[in-house]
């Protein structure tokens, strides 16, 4: 009986060790750089006064106080949540729609149209930190090129990022610069839709609007859904305001204060590591809920076939 077991174990090892060996980098990596940190993060979120002394972590257990603080005590949170929600709700649809029209414009066979596609995509290749530097410079109230031009025709000056009323809208305006990425996705979605659908619709006298609603959008849903999910996950963690907003990324009157910037400030500028971890966990739960909601309201998801 014992011999049978050990030979079974040996057989199991013989059959599986190569796979595990190749997979080892990932297995170790997930454990050390993902799972252990996730558990640490949960533990830290229940503690306060987290310090590292001579290589040892010391902390004080405070239960759920950090979580209570988020919703009941922290006066900044209201503004931070509103900013992040507005930013997510506006920028994702805005980008999808604007990039759709841009894709439509260059989805022709006109001569030289490929060059325009490259021009439109080029801003996406500029590093975010340079984008922030550049737009902060161009949007400057006194020396910015936009206000100089607007002043020339008797308008302005506009304060853009420097006024709490216009700061967030200016970010949306700035983001229009990067719609080339969405354009590429739309173009590939168009390419996957057979010409014959449009030809049939044209025979029935369908106009551009009808074709959009009845063919293009239904046939692109997988792309749209996947994009919405990744955009929501990405946008809720947006911390790009660090590169251009005043007051270390918070903007005037906290008008550009985003959730991820809040986490950064609590952890690294205020040394509230425990509180920052509880904020991160709330974000994780929210993202998880939104993802589940999006998946359950759509029937597509397909991760390749098993061999």
């Amino acid at each position: 009986m014992k011999g049978f077991n050990s030979s079974k174990i040996k057989k199991f090892i013989d059959e599986n060790y190569t796979g595990w060996l190749f997979n080892m980098p990932l297995a170790v990596g997930l454990l050390v750089f993902t799972f252990i940190p996730v558990i640490y993060s949960l533990v830290f979120s229940l503690n306060d006064d987290i310090f590292i002394l001579n290589g040892n972590v010391t902390m004080t257990f405070i239960g759920l106080k950090n979580y209570v603080k988020i919703f009941a005590e922290d006066r900044e949170m209201g503004k931070v949540i509103i900013n992040t929600v507005i930013y997510t709700l506006v920028s994702i649809p805005l980008n999808l729609v604007a990039s759709y029209f841009l894709a439509l414009l260059v989805n022709t066979k006109l001569k030289g149209v490929e060059a325009f596609r490259v021009f439109y995509y080029l801003p996406c290749m500029i590093p975010a930190v340079v984008g922030g530097l550049l737009w902060k410079d161009m949007f400057d109230t006194t020396y910015g090129v936009f206000n100089k031009m607007l002043g020339f025709i008797g308008l302005g000056p506009f304060q853009f990022f420097s006024n709490e009323k216009t700061a967030l809208s200016s970010v949306f305006l700035m983001n229009m610069w990067g719609i080339g990425g969405g354009m590429i996705l739309w173009l590939s979605a168009f390419k996957n839709i057979g010409r014959h659908y449009y030809e049939a619709a044209e025979l029935d006298g369908a106009n551009a609007w009808v074709k959009l609603i009845n063919i293009t959008i239904p046939m692109s849903t997988s792309m749209i859904f996947f994009n919405i999910i990744t955009s929501v996950i990405g946008t809720l963690q947006y911390n790009g305001t660090l590169t251009f907003a005043s007051r270390d990324g918070r903007g005037p009157e906290n008008s550009l204060y985003m959730y991820a910037v809040k986490i950064y400030r609590e952890a690294f500028e205020k040394d509230n590591m425990g509180y920052a971890c509880s904020l991160a966990w709330i974000l994780l739960i929210v993202i998880g809920l939104i993802t589940v909601l999006l998946f359950s309201t759509s029937k597509w998801v397909f991760y390749g076939e098993e061999t």
Partner: protein, 294 residues
Amino acid sequence: MEAKSILLAESRKAKRNKIYSGGILYLIMILLAVILLFPYAYMVSKSLMTSEEVVDPRIKLFPAVPQIANYLTLFIETNYLKATLNTLFIILFNLIAVPLSASLVAFSFAKLRWKGRNLMFALMLGTMMLPAVVTQLPLYIIYAKLGWIDTLFPFTIPNLFGGGALYIFLLRQFMMGIPKDMDNAAKIDGASALRRFWSITFPLCKPVLIYVMVNVFIAYWGDYYGPLVYMHSSNAPKTLAYVVFIDSTDKDSATYKSNMRMAGGVFMSVIPAILFAIFQKQLIEGVIMTGIKD
């Protein structure tokens, strides 16, 4: 006769309409290109201005005399050169580490059969949804315990362990598309898994590997947030993106030395633009691959 001439006139009219609409399309496309490329051109122009020109209250789109010396000053008098070398070191390490470790793992998912494979794959996909901020804070503590804060280790060592779920996923998808015949033939000839990986599968993954490498380059070239978290002490090694970040947030950016900052910005943007020009096809296919996963 009359009918024929009417027909001719109709077709001429249609042709003319087509030319008009084509002309309008070109006009819109050119206008949009000017709008989208203006910031870039403006950055180049401002980087060549003198310190007086950038604070001139009048509209100044071009420098009177292009100050190419600004770029020299940037590298000689500031810490840009050192920062660029640090950045290139990180990139060089990851250009080797990420493709290799990601494709080893992808090989185990695509070409090997073993118990636990589906579980590991599901776990990996699960981590793709995990917000980075959740792991980043405890990682800071872990790195601090290891003595990695203010060193380049947080930007190199972790990439030896798979190099990122997205890259593994893309490589796995590509490897699944490689016909099994070659692999099977090599297996019959007694080739080990490592040999089959190294001489058959890995070289065939070249298109995806190029995409992964270009992406690794661009990601680390532009990463200012990682250094902001893990290397922010004044005596820590600096990366280029971090130096540009600090320069742009330190002072009122539109005035003091903004020509120099723009020169830094141009330098930082030119490299990705060149990479894009060379690897346009792979990059666009990559955007599509990661945008539509089916």
